[in-house]
Structures are given as structure tokens and as C-alpha cells.
């Protein structure tokens, strides 16, 4: 057939159209990926990670304080002395042992490889023999031949095993001799490691939560790890709960059922995607205040090293009973302070710490919704509480739309009109000037929007259906508002109520 010359369409015009449409398609795809990737909950997680990193930094400063540094210096000196002594007394012997050990390790590796290459096929050969025996009987030539092969391979494997074990024993003896020789050095190293570990762990945690490479180098301050594990299209790859990995957190709760019109199914709560600190004790005000208070001496030493003025402790408030508290020793009496004093003291501490962090070029520690622990973690949320989060979840008490990760779609309910206005400005997502969804729409369509703070105890009645079966916890009667409601409900005179 002759090669056709005519075309139905003008090729060059088609090429131009193809180029234009390809560019448009590429832009659309990139926009789609960006729209899918850029989510508000990632910012909340970022705040949490940076706050964790900042707290780790404070731990590091505390662990690096001068008194601890002195202990580390002494331990380093002990290690140095031990090494010098070892070098003077047994350097030659050590070098010889290390060389022999390297040789023995290599020979053992080779012998082990040879032995395993015979021992593994031997299992197959034995299996073949047993099959032949079962299929053909003992006296069959095939069986006899298979048996001879097994015996031959067993003998070879035995020879190689003896050789392997010889090198293995030699290796173990040399390692034992080296261990004895290095005993004092190892002990000194262990003591030093224990002292340094706290600071080292804190430093490592700091770098992990900031998404930095573990070791310093020319990329030390570039968040390479964070960029890689959170890269678009590849953010599925890193293991779950890797520090600095932004992920949707969900609790699958088979025992918590929800009715979806025609379907009764288990609940999946994704609240912890934004409320990532909900179970983290470090983010409860009392614990955080304690940590900040304890970190001030370390911060002050760091400032003094730079020739800057240290921070003074905030003015200690009085306890509820009127007792005076010493400077820098307020947090042990946290429960004895009024809420107002707690807030004032905490704010003062936080201001100082955040000021230091700003000087260090770090973002401030944030403590506020959603980066905030649940109140009364011993009663709710924590693993050893009567209401562990992994079993109960969040929406069984608080209601709302459990599977949403958008603020508005999750059916958050503003307490006041002013709050609604503020939330509209902060959380509404607009497309072509129109919000994608409004609070009113969600309240209209989602049957169970979130409880207001004052109504949270209504959720208790789902399980504590008698109300009076909400018991005491650590000597304190819980569910007071709910019990009062029950009392009013059961004791109100209906005839009066309806007039």
C-alpha cells in the first residue's frame, strides 16, 4: 500500500493546539495537587512539631547546664585517663588482637557463607530422598542413589560446619580478650554516655521535630527530612508517626457506633489530626508551666554565655490559702493557685521563653486551641484513664462530624456571634468569593453538631445512662452539671413549668 501523503487536519495547527492544551493540563494538575496538598490541618501540626522541638531545645539547655557539664567534663577526663592507661599498657596487644579479630571475622564470614550454601540445599536433598523413599521404597536404585547423595552432602556440610565453628570460636575468644582489655575504657564510656544521653536525646528530638538531618553538616539547618517525608505525592511513604511527618490521624472505634440513616457502623474520629496534642501531657498548662520554669536556669546560662542579661523569674503569686511561694518554685503548688494566678504566671513564663526562642531564630511555643491537651488527662483521653482515647474517641462525648478534617465541616459550633464572626474570617475557604461551606449549612445538615462547652456533659449520658452511675474519681464527684440537670428534671413541677 503506498504511504498516504494527505492528512485530514493541518498538522502544524494541531501541534500548537496540543502544546497549549498540554500546558493548560499541566497547570491544572499542579493546581489540583496543590489544592489537595495545602490543608489547614498541616499548619496546626507544624505548630505542634515546632513547639515540641522548642521544648526539646529547652530540655537540651537544662541538660547542658554548667553543673552537668562539669560532671560530663569529669567523666570525659576519666575516659581519657582510662584510654591513655590502656594505650600505654596494652596498645600493641590491642592492635594485634584487633587485627586478628578482623581476619577471624572475615574468615568466619567466608566459612559461614560456604557452610550455609551447603546446609540449605542439604534440606532439599533430604526432602527429595524422603519423597523418593515414600514413592519407590527402600531398595529402589533411585532411593539408594538419593541416600548416597544425602550422606555425601551431609559429610561435606559437617566438614564446612567444623571449619565455620572453628573461626566462630576464634572470633569469640578474641572478642572476649579485647573486652577484658578494654574493660576500664568501656566502663568510663558507659558512664559518660549516660551523662551525655539526656542532652543527646533532647538534641536528637529537637532535630527530628524540625525535620532536620540528624547530623550537622552543610545541610544542618535545612529541613531536608521534613521536605522529603512531606513531599507532595510521596508523603505516604514514611512510617506513621515519624516526627515531623504531617498525616491524617484517625482513631477507628469499632465499639462506638454511629447511625448514618440506613447504616449503623463504627466511628472513625479524625479530630486528632488538628488536636494533635490532645493526649500530650506536655501541652497541659500545669505541666508546661513546670517545664518552662525548670528551663529558665538553662536559658539564663545560655544568655550569659552570649553576654546577654538573664531573665528574672516572674513574681510568684500566693496560694489560695495565702501562703507565699519562693521565686522559681511555683509550679509544684500549681493546684493551689487560682485560675487567674495560674494564667498570669504561665503567660509571664511563656513570654520569657518565647523571647529567648525568638533570639534563637525559632518560632514561639504555642499553647492554645487546637494545640492543647485535654483537661483532666487522668480522667479522659490518656491510656490509663477510665476513658482512653483509643477506645472512646472524641465525638462520642463532643459530637461533631468525626471524619472531617476541615474546621467548618467538622461541625464546630461557635459559642457567640462574635466568635462566629471571628471563625468565619479565620476558617472559611472561599472559591470565587463564596465560602465552600458555612457554619449554618453544617448545623442544618449534620444531625449532631458539636456540643457547646457548657453542654459537653450531655455526652456522658450515652454510656452513663442512669446519670447517677457517674461515680467519684479520686474522691471527687464528677458530672455535677449533668446530675443537677437530672435533679431539676425529675423534681420540677410540670404544672408550674407549663403556666
Amino acid at each position: 500500500m503506498p504511504i498516504p501523503e494527505e492528512r485530514l487536519y493541518h498538522s502544524r495547527k494541531l501541534n500548537i493546539w496540543f502544546a497549549i492544551s498540554s500546558v493548560v493540563m499541566t497547570v491544572c494538575l499542579l493546581w489540583m495537587i496543590a489544592a489537595d496538598y495545602i490543608r489547614p490541618w498541616k499548619d496546626y501540626q507544624e505548630d505542634y512539631f515546632l513547639s515540641k522541638a522548642a521544648l526539646a531545645r529547652l530540655e537540651y539547655l537544662t541538660a547542658s547546664r554548667n553543673d552537668r557539664q562539669e560532671a560530663i567534663a569529669k567523666a570525659e577526663q576519666r575516659l581519657k585517663d582510662a584510654k591513655e592507661y590502656a594505650a600505654q599498657t596494652s596498645a600493641e596487644e590491642r592492635a594485634e588482637l584487633e587485627s586478628e579479630l578482623a581476619h577471624a571475622s572475615l574468615e568466619f564470614r567466608k566459612a559461614n557463607d560456604k557452610w550455609s550454601r551447603t546446609a540449605q540445599p542439604l534440606d532439599v536433598t533430604r526432602d527429595t530422598y524422603e519423597r523418593t523413599l515414600a514413592n519407590y521404597g527402600e531398595d529402589h536404585p533411585r532411593t539408594i542413589k538419593a541416600h548416597e547423595t544425602v550422606l555425601r552432602e551431609e559429610a561435606k556440610a559437617d566438614r564446612l560446619r567444623v571449619e565455620k565453628e572453628k573461626w566462630e570460636d576464634q572470633k569469640k575468644q578474641l572478642e572476649a580478650r579485647l573486652r577484658n582489655l578494654n574493660g576500664p575504657v568501656r566502663e568510663a564510656e558507659k558512664a559518660l554516655r549516660n551523662l551525655q544521653m539526656v542532652a543527646e536525646e533532647a538534641r536528637k528530638k529537637d532535630r527530628q521535630y524540625r525535620g532536620l538531618l540528624p547530623k550537622a553538616g552543610w545541610l544542618a539547618s535545612v529541613p531536608v527530612v521534613g521536605a522529603v517525608i512531606n513531599a507532595p505525592l510521596f508523603d505516604f511513604a514514611a512510617p506513621k508517626n515519624t516526627p515531623a511527618r504531617k498525616q491524617v490521624n484517625q482513631l477507628v472505634l469499632p465499639e462506638v457506633r454511629q447511625q448514618l440513616n440506613y447504616l449503623e457502623t463504627y466511628t472513625t474520629d479524625r479530630c486528632t489530626t488538628c488536636h494533635i496534642a490532645i493526649g500530650d501531657r506536655e501541652f497541659s498548662k500545669g505541666r508546661l508551666a513546670e517545664k518552662l520554669e525548670k528551663s529558665l536556669p538553662g536559658i539564663n546560662e545560655a544568655l550569659q554565655d552570649r553576654g546577654l542579661d538573664p531573665y528574672a523569674y516572674p513574681e510568684p503569686p500566693k496560694t489560695i490559702d495565702g501562703d507565699e511561694l519562693a521565686l522559681g518554685e511555683v509550679t509544684p503548688f500549681w493546684g493551689n493557685l487560682t485560675h487567674e494566678d495560674q494564667d498570669t504566671y504561665f503567660d509571664a513564663l511563656l513570654e520569657r521563653v518565647n523571647d529567648y526562642l525568638a533570639q534563637d531564630g525559632r518560632p514561639a511555643i504555642k499553647l492554645g486551641q487546637p494545640t492543647l491537651a485535654h483537661p483532666d488527662l487522668d480522667l479522659f483521653v490518656s491510656v490509663d484513664s477510665p476513658h482512653p482515647m483509643a477506645k472512646i474517641g472524641c465525638t462520642v462525648c463532643h459530637e461533631g462530624n468525626p471524619q472531617e478534617t476541615d474546621f467548618v465541616f467538622a461541625a464546630h459550633v461557635p459559642e457567640t456571634h462574635e466568635e462566629q464572626k471571628a471563625w468565619e474570617e479565620k476558617h472559611y475557604v472561599h472559591r470565587l468569593g463564596v465560602p465552600v461551606v458555612t457554619f449554618d449549612t453544617v448545623a442544618h445538615y449534620w444531625d449532631r453538631p458539636m456540643h457547646l462547652k457548657a453542654h459537653t456533659e450531655a455526652g456522658c449520658a450515652k454510656c452513663h445512662s442512669e446519670i447517677t452511675d457517674i461515680g467519684r474519681f479520686r474522691g471527687e464527684r464528677k458530672g455535677a452539671r449533668l446530675n443537677l440537670g437530672r435533679y431539676l428534671f425529675t423534681n420540677v413541677d410540670v404544672s408550674i413549668a407549663t403556666t
Binding site: K110, D113, V124, G137
Partner: protein
Amino acid sequence: MPGVIAASSSVDAIKELINRLCRPYSFLAIAVAGLIIFLVFYRRLTKPVVAGAIGAICVLIFAASAMDPNFRLIITKADNVPIVIMLFTVTFFLWLSFRQAAVNDENLEQGKPLTESGADDKVLVWPDLVYIEMIALILCTALLVVWAVILPAPLEQPADPNIAPNPAKAPWYFLGLQEMLVYFDPWLAGVIFPGLIIVGLIAIPFMDKNPRGNGYYTFKERPFAISTFLFGFVILWVILIIFGTFLRGPNWNFFGPYEYWDPHRPAALLNTEFHDLFWISFLGRALPENFIVRELPGILLVLAYFMLGPLVLRALFFRKMYRQIGAIRYGTMSFLLLVMLLMPIKMILRWTLNLHYVVGITEWFLNI
């Protein structure tokens, strides 16, 4: 089957031989040799008498094999029936297309018109097109109904992570990839290679500048394109599916077509890494502690394969093609070809040297 004491017979010897020939290395070697012979002698082999005789022999062997209980068990499993059908349909359509190609090639050499030329290209939609389609639709539906009734899809119990089937086989269209997992890291076999297969297929029209062979069957006018495609399709896809369907049993061990699928049969795992071969066996020294240094020989080998490979191929085979299609197209084509050839090369290295990974950076989950 085990437990049966039987006297040896010539039938057993033949079965034993076939079981041995079906081992991965021999099976693939025979398949490749068969493909080469077929492509070289396609004109003779596709003659109806010759092809019919070969087909009849194959059917007889298949029918005789069906008398073996183990073989029967495999081919009559509901999931495997389509693959049995595929054995025959792929062979048939290969023969059909090559027969037409052989006829056209002979006609071209003799200056005669092609089979496809001379016919009136225009046909009426009704009845020529739609009526035939409707009849085919009815017959296919009837076939599917009969098939569904005779071999219903098994409705098994709900999935239980505590009870996994052994072997856990992918659907037939992924068995080729599952077989590749034996030789390659999951990232490569499951993500990179399938992606490159699709990309490669999409790229073909942009790389192929040969205007011949459009609209008519031929082999002579497009030998490289057709051979490469058939190698990739028949050897690296269909044969691997057949292998995964019929010859992989419990624990993904190899079982010959007449062997009982014993889940307790041991298999020796003797994998060696390239860094062991290079540093320990060849240089006689311990492995370097730094993993980059440790894997450097493997990395250099892979880089050399992809960088020098195109140059070597151009010098040996593709001078004319390079002049025709230019550097960019040639570079893309040679890259895809080298990736495709990586599969059989890796398989051969596994069978001969027990080589597991050429580059094994487990610290970064990067293994080649």
C-alpha cells in the same frame, strides 16, 4: 502424589523430564529459543500444515498431561481456566498475525499486492458492522453465562488476616509482576517497572519513525519493533503469567506441572549480594562500614549499564536507526530497551550466581 509406592516407568521419566524443563531457567531459555526460532523461520512455521501439526501435537500433550491428577487440579481450578484459554488464544492469534505477515512479506518480495489492499475500505454500518457486532455480543454473553454456571466464581469466607491463603496469588493480570518480585525489590517490580511499561508504550508512537507496516501485517518491514514487542509481551509478560499460574505453588516455590503442591517442601535460599561478591569473594576483605562505599561497585556497574549500554548498542546494532531517529529518540528507546533487558539479565544472574541485589542500600530502601 506422595505416599504412593509406584514402580518407575517411562511415563514417570517423561514427567520428571518435563518437570525439570519447566524450572525457571530452562523454561525461559526454551521460551526465548522458541521465540527466536519462530521469528527466524516464521514463513515456514506459519504454514497451515506445519502450524496445524505443531498445534495438534501440543493439544495431544496437553490432553495427555490432563490425565495426571496434579496437573488436572491446576488447570481445572476456576481461577486458572482463563489462563488455560489464554495459552491457546495467544498462540492462535500470534500464528494468525504472523501468517498474514508471512503472506504479505512474500507478496512484497514478488511485487504482488498486499492482502489488505484492493478491498473496498468502505463498509455499511448496517448490516456489515453492527449486525456482526450484535451476533458476537450475543454469543459472548451466552458463553459467559454458560461459563459462570459451570465454573462459578468462588464465594469464599470473609477475609481474615489470621488465615492467609498459601500461595497468595495476585489476579492473573498481575502475576507477571508478582513473578518479578522474586528477582527485584518491590519498589522496582511493583512501581517503577509497571510505570515504565506504561510510559514506554505511550512513548512508542513518538519514537517510531518507520512509516512502513501501517495498516497491513508484515514482519520484514518492522523486524526490530515487532521482535522487541514480542519479547516484552510474550516472554516477559505472558510466559511469566503462565509461570505464576501453573508453576508457582505454596510459599511461591517452584513446582513442576506434574508435582504435588506440598506446602512443607523446603527450598534453599542462597541469595548473595553483589557487595559480598566484590569485597569478600573478589577482594578478600571485610565489607566497608560506610554503605555508600560498600555499594559503590554496584552503583558504578548500574551506571555503566545505562550510560555505556546505549553507546555499545549503537555501535553494534543501531547505527542506521540512530541516524534515522536522532539522539533524543534513540536515547529514550535505548533506555527503555535496557530497562526491559534488565529483567532477563537479573534473572540469569540470580540463577547462576544467586545474585540478590546489585545495589543493596537497605538503609534507604533502595535496592536494584
